[in-house]
């Protein structure tokens, strides 16, 4: 990033959220780089940027699309790069229809499932299965031409109208990015949750990727798209995931009915038949994981105990799980350093869900709000819950902090750093490692005589980690298992040096293939601490980066197709003709001896078949994807849809909002009606949440510390002087903010840093809300939680909720207390005529259009899924949404029902569109607790019907995650190229999460 000539920070408040990472921006600026901040608010990032471009939250694709449009129409793209390294020349199926044709839908939309079948989005292929290309880029079916047409109506006028950005500011942006891209110069984008926390989040990122690919800024120093992430090891927690849809190393969790056998599963992960890249060895990676977990019980004969793995069949994310809790479908809940009572969207729903649990274990340093909700939470105050009636057993277990245990964090650029233990935890405080080890031991002990086959996986599990004198597990022994080791033979037990040593015959075991090598030679590579002064700027001997200690991905793109540097100034990795190898300032992320001119006639076949100019080696075809034939469930190219609850009409399409977004139709998750519907003016303003430098997410690690608490002691809202005048708010007085879900109070910061925008002729006021505070008795500072205002509506790719655009209203004064608060919120709900259907109408185009889209799908389907196998491992199969049941029960009918004013009659309302668990409650709309008339068998698990044959249900999330992070595994989304640029360590990121802690 420090090498960039222009840095566009959009959807991120980098200086505030990642001050130390921001040093590279200030450094670049000091060297003359231009820094532009595109954000609804003027923040501390803006303060030292060259330019602030205020934007309406949620309109980013319009802006980026307009930049793409300008680049394409004026030929400002980096032609040689685009031709060589992207799929611009690929031809797309004749059946593909664009949003331009279908008024906001792509071809393949299935109105019954509200999902796409992506078969019409695939490449045209020849008999050998190789993609057909038109190097002239003139074929109307070429990606280049499709792209051009797709964004043709994304104009400066549209930007002015929808984003609220002045034409002059737009021209400034155009000039900045185009003048600072090309052979000699590079532009870098940085984003964070400002992009991801939207129902279109993943597509925001893709739009930037397309622009960066067109400008030739991917894989090059000072280019790329940097994700800025919010948690110490948010990266690690997806690499070695505590996520429902992933196993370590981005292996998917197997899906019921899809990955019935180990071979099915391996086929989905990746095989030489489907891949050029390293995913071709999927069988080895899966085998090693199983072998590491079940040791001797995992044998070739039993497919390495593949059957021990539980199967998923839908989304089991946190919001789906929470709905299940509300339905008494979950007994126990572990919180590991996480404070959902404050940090998750729709906090009331979170806390109510907890009250339905039988027991909860909270592992933290302090009595966070998620540990005390039963005692002093907002629902106790409002009378909705009574302590004496709450059955939930609570266990608060003190956690060891980062100095009291050893282990690794993986930072945002995949660098895995070992922390040495400094002191022993005080009192009964304990590390998660010890807790889980002990818990596992006891559970196994209690079950040791069990004959029940369901207990075999627990009893057969390798669980014999060495402990020290104090009974604490040696974390290095766990790291060694993650790294992998030889099984049997003369090297038995010795650590693997890299993942190429992994075999699929059970002679090696390893818990996370991408981490193989971290314990090479028995040395803890993550603990390496060679001072930066003693090594070059790549600092390869500081800790260890996965994969294979490679610091920068896709750096082959930093050289021209012929292997020479694009320019002396941006020289990074190049082909050395004399030695016949790639060389440069970093470890080349490419087969080291694959000459630039090398060509393979195979479309697949593992790394050996990469062409010499296929830099994006984790993509199935080695190219950067301007058009994503697979991998995105909501469209092959980003398209502007209005956010949920938006009060603005989509100026581009009749399709108002994303038709594939995931909604939860529930009485306790009401949405504002949205533009054009009655009741919209009850919630006329836009709330956008964010965080502050001085606090950490839900506050568990900051609101208890006096030094941080004093710096930002109170919940506040930021509003423009214009809005203050309109509503009558006094500076630093109190305001009450009301959304369709809740009402909170905050102190008022009236500031010109908030700018009213004129959108479609109307003035839109945005209100900024930091979300660090929560209500509870223990913290040094408390306050109302902004997340209580949020509803749960999710991006269909990654299931991240929309926190950046919430409809609501504001008035002077403090909020009502006690039961009156509930009445107060309901008063507004009634006034707006809200029902669970409000704002949740997914499809807003005509039936004919839908039919046309669907028909395209059917035709194409006959031809099979030409693209599919190729990237099933990394890609996701689109076409699946998680709203099946709900949508079954009436999505199409909803069209009429949604006016918002439809009284909820007592007829049953399906309340949990997303409850993947499959449980559906049919109950009167106005009563949550009573009359649960029917519960569908939980095992029915809804799921997604396997008939569509998509293999990878699990991948959805995976890709999602990985995509966001841009890592190796991920391909389809572009990320491929995201390549965080330069070795810097810098980047930070945070992906989706700001919200939690």
């Amino acid at each position: 990033m420090a090498n960039a000539d222009c840095i566009i920070i959009q959807g991120s408040n980098m200086a505030e959220c990642h001050p130390v990472g921001f040093q590279w921006v200030t450094e670049a600026k000091a060297r003359g780089a231009r820094v532009i901040h595109v954000d609804p608010r003027f923040t501390r990032t803006t303060a030292i940027a060259d330019k602030h471009v205020p934007i309406r939250a949620g309109s980013d694709i319009v802006l980026l699309g307009a930049l793409i449009n300008r680049v394409l129409t004026e030929g400002l793209h980096f032609d040689e790069y685009v031709r060589a390294y992207t799929n611009a020349a690929n031809l797309i199926s004749e059946n593909y229809q664009d949003t331009e044709d279908l008024d906001g839908l792509f071809s393949g939309f299935d109105p019954d499932t509200n999902s796409y079948d992506n078969s019409t989005w695939s490449y045209q292929t020849d008999e050998a299965g190789r993609a057909v290309r038109d190097e002239s880029l003139s074929n109307p079916r070429s990606v280049f031409q499709i792209l051009k047409r797709h964004y043709s109506r994304y104009t400066p006028e549209m930007v002015a109208e929808n984003c609220g950005i002045k034409p002059a500011d737009f021209e400034y942006l155009v000039e900045s990015v185009t003048q600072n891209s090309g052979r000699e110069r590079t532009t870098c984008f940085a984003y964070a949750v400002g992009w991801t926390q939207h129902s279109l989040g993943a597509q925001f990122i893709r739009t930037a990727s397309i622009l960066q690919l067109l400008l030739g800024n991917m894989g090059r120093p000072g280019g790329g798209i940097m994700a800025l992430r919010g948690h110490a090891t948010i990266q690690g927690s997806t690499d070695i995931p505590t996520l429902f849809n992933l196993l370590p190393g981005y292996l998917p969790m197997p899906s019921a009915g899809v990955h019935e056998t180990f071979d099915d599963y391996v086929a989905a992960v990746g095989t030489p038949e489907t891949h050029k890249g390293y995913w071709a060895n999927g069988r080895s990676y899966a085998t090693n994981l199983l072998k590491a977990w079940w040791g001797d019980a995992a044998t070739k004969d039993n497919n390495f105990a593949y059957d021990y793995l539980p199967k998923i069949n839908g989304a089991h994310g946190t919001y789906q799980t929470q709905v299940r809790m509300l339905n008494d479908g979950v007994d126990g809940y572990f919180l590991l350093g996480q404070n959902p009572a404050v940090g998750s969207a729709n906090g009331r729903m979170q806390r109510m869900a907890m009250s339905h649990l039988k027991w909860m274990v909270v592992r933290d340093f302090r009595l966070i709000e998620s540990a005390t909700w039963w005692k002093d939470g907002p629902e106790i105050a409002s009378g909705e819950l009574t302590t004496e009636d709450i059955e939930t057993e609570m266990f608060f277990m003190p956690a060891a902090n980062h100095t009291e245990k050893a282990g690794t964090f993986t930072q945002t650029q995949r660098l895995v750093q070992w922390r040495h233990k400094a002191v022993n935890p005080p009192g009964d405080a304990q590390s998660e490692l010890d807790f889980f080890f002990e818990l596992g031991k006891r559970v196994r002990e209690k079950l040791k005589d069990s004959e029940d086959p369901r207990d075999r996986p627990l009893l057969d599990m390798t669980w014999d980690y060495p402990v020290d004198d104090e009974g604490e597990v040696d974390p290095e022994s766990v790291l060694a298992e993650i790294n992998g080791y030889y099984v049997g033979g003369e090297k038995d037990g010795q650590p693997l040096d890299n993942f190429n040593q992994m075999t699929d015959d059970g002679t090696t075991a390893g818990g996370c293939w991408i981490y193989a090598g971290i314990y090479a030679g028995g040395q803890n590579m993550a603990a390496r601490r060679k001072p930066r002064a003693d090594q070059d700027e790549t600092a390869a001997e500081w800790a260890w980066a996965w994969p294979a200690n490679r610091r920068i991905l896709y750096n082959r793109a930093s050289a021209a197709p012929d292997g020479t540097p694009w320019s002396e100034r941006k020289k990074f990795v190049w082909w050395d003709e004399d030695s016949g190898k790639w060389t440069g300032k970093d470890v080349p992320d490419f087969p080291i001896d694959r000459a630039p001119s090398a060509r393979s006639d195979q479309a697949h076949g593992g790394p050996a078949n990469l062409d010499g100019d296929d830099p994006f080696i984790m993509q199935a075809d080695g190219k950067g994807w301007l058009f994503a034939p697979s991998g995105m469930v909501d469209g092959p190219m980003p398209t502007h849809y209005e956010p949920q609850e938006s009060t603005v009409d989509n100026p581009l399409y009749d399709q108002q909002s994303s038709p594939t977004r995931l909604v939860m139709r529930r009485e306790d998750n009401l949405s504002a009606p949205g533009a054009g519907n009655p009741g919209t003016d009850v919630y006329p303003y836009v709330f956008t949440t964010y965080r502050l430098t001085e606090h950490h997410t839900a506050g568990g690690m900051s609101r208890w510390l006096p030094y941080l608490s004093e710096l930002q002691p109170e919940m506040f809202c930021e509003i423009s002087p214009e809005l203050a005048a309109e509503v009558g708010l006094e500076p630093y007085g109190w305001a009450t903010l009301v959304s369709p879900r809740a009402a909170i109070e905050a102190r008022v910061l009236v500031t010109k840093r908030m700018t009213p925008l004129t959108i479609g002729g109307k003035t839109i006021h945005q209100i900024g809300l930091p979300y660090h505070w929560g209500v509870g008795g223990d913290a040094t500072v408390e306050g109302d939680s902004a997340n209580d205002l949020l509803g749960v509506t999710m991006d269909p790719n990654v299931f991240i909720q929309n926190s950046k655009y919430v409809a609501g209203t504001i008035m002077p004064g403090r909020r009502p207390r006690g039961p009156e608060l509930v009445d107060f919120v309901e008063k507004y709900q009634r006034e707006a005529g809200l029902s669970p259907e409000s704002g949740n109408q997914l499809v807003t185009v005509s039936d004919e259009v839908v039919a046309e889209s669907h028909a395209a799908d059917s035709e194409a389907s006959k031809g099979g899924h030409p693209h599919r196998g190729g990237d099933s491992a990394v890609g996701v199969t689109p076409g699946r949404t998680f709203g099946d049941e709900a949508t079954d029960s009436g999505e199409s009918d909803d069209a009429e029902a949604t006016g918002g004013s439809a009284p909820d009659d007592a007829s049953s309302v399906v309340d949990n569109a997303d409850d993947r668990s499959g449980r559906v409650d049919l109950r009167p709309a106005d009563s949550i607790d009573e009359n649960r008339t029917e519960t569908v068998d939980a095992n029915r698990a809804d799921d997604g019907d396997p008939t569509d044959g998509d293999p990878d249900r699990g991948d959805i999330g995976k890709d999602a995650d990985s995509a966001e992070k841009g890592n190796l595994g991920e391909g389809p989304r572009d990320f491929s190229g995201r390549n965080d640029e330069g070795a810097d360590t810098t980047s930070v990121d945070n992906r989706g999460h700001e919200e939690e802690d």
Partner: protein
């Protein structure tokens, strides 16, 4: 200045030295003269990583008598070059500030307050509940007869602030137990 020595009386030192105006060396107390950095008194210095955001800034943890006495940026780190943001700079408080809970607390159903609980007892109780919840909501097959082998009775949230090794053990245990509703803030 425990023992009073007339010659060490600053007024006298003032006259004896060139610091006649009494604004420098002559007025220095013994304690001041013996000033050392508390870092210099540490028994050991441990290299660590900041627990807040994902930049991964290096930290140096200074330890004396098994107590953390200082945490500051690690200048050796190529990532952070010794710098920390306010949260990172407050990490020592995260460790040492008053009021940290170090006992296991238990709240029985319908109880109005916490009670202390022995750690071993607590883990044992959790283990019992873990097994019970697992059984209560066990699912062998979906409605089409596909094997599931899982339990919906247990959920977990968290992981982005705990170690990779910890996440690994947690995921391994949960998965072996058939618990699948495992999430962290990567998705929140």
């Amino acid at each position: 200045m425990a023992r009073f020595s007339p010659l060490e009386w600053p007024v006298i030192r003032q006259l004896r030295s060139s610091d006649a105006s009494g604004r420098g060396e002559s007025v220095v107390s013994r304690k001041t003269r013996d000033t050392t950095s508390r870092n210099a008194t540490a028994d050991k210095v441990v290299q660590s990583v900041c627990p807040y955001c994902a930049v991964g800034c290096g930290q140096k943890v200074f330890v004396k008598d098994d107590k953390v006495i200082q945490i500051e940026g690690d200048p050796d780190s190529p990532i952070s070059r010794g710098r920390l943001c306010p949260k990172g700079a407050a990490s020592e408080q995260l460790v040492n500030a008053n009021g940290r809970i170090t006992d296991v607390l238990y709240r029985a159903p319908r109880a109005k307050d916490w009670q202390k609980l022995d750690l071993g007892t607590a883990i044992d109780m959790v283990a019992d509940r873990f097994i019970e919840a697992r059984r209560n909501h066990w699912e062998d097959f979906d409605d089409k007869g596909h094997p599931l082998r899982r339990t919906m009775g247990i959920a977990s949230l968290g992981g982005a602030t705990i170690d990779n090794e910890e996440n690994y053990l947690a995921k391994k245990l949960y998965t072996a137990a058939g618990a699948i509703q495992i999430e962290n803030q990567a998705r929140i």
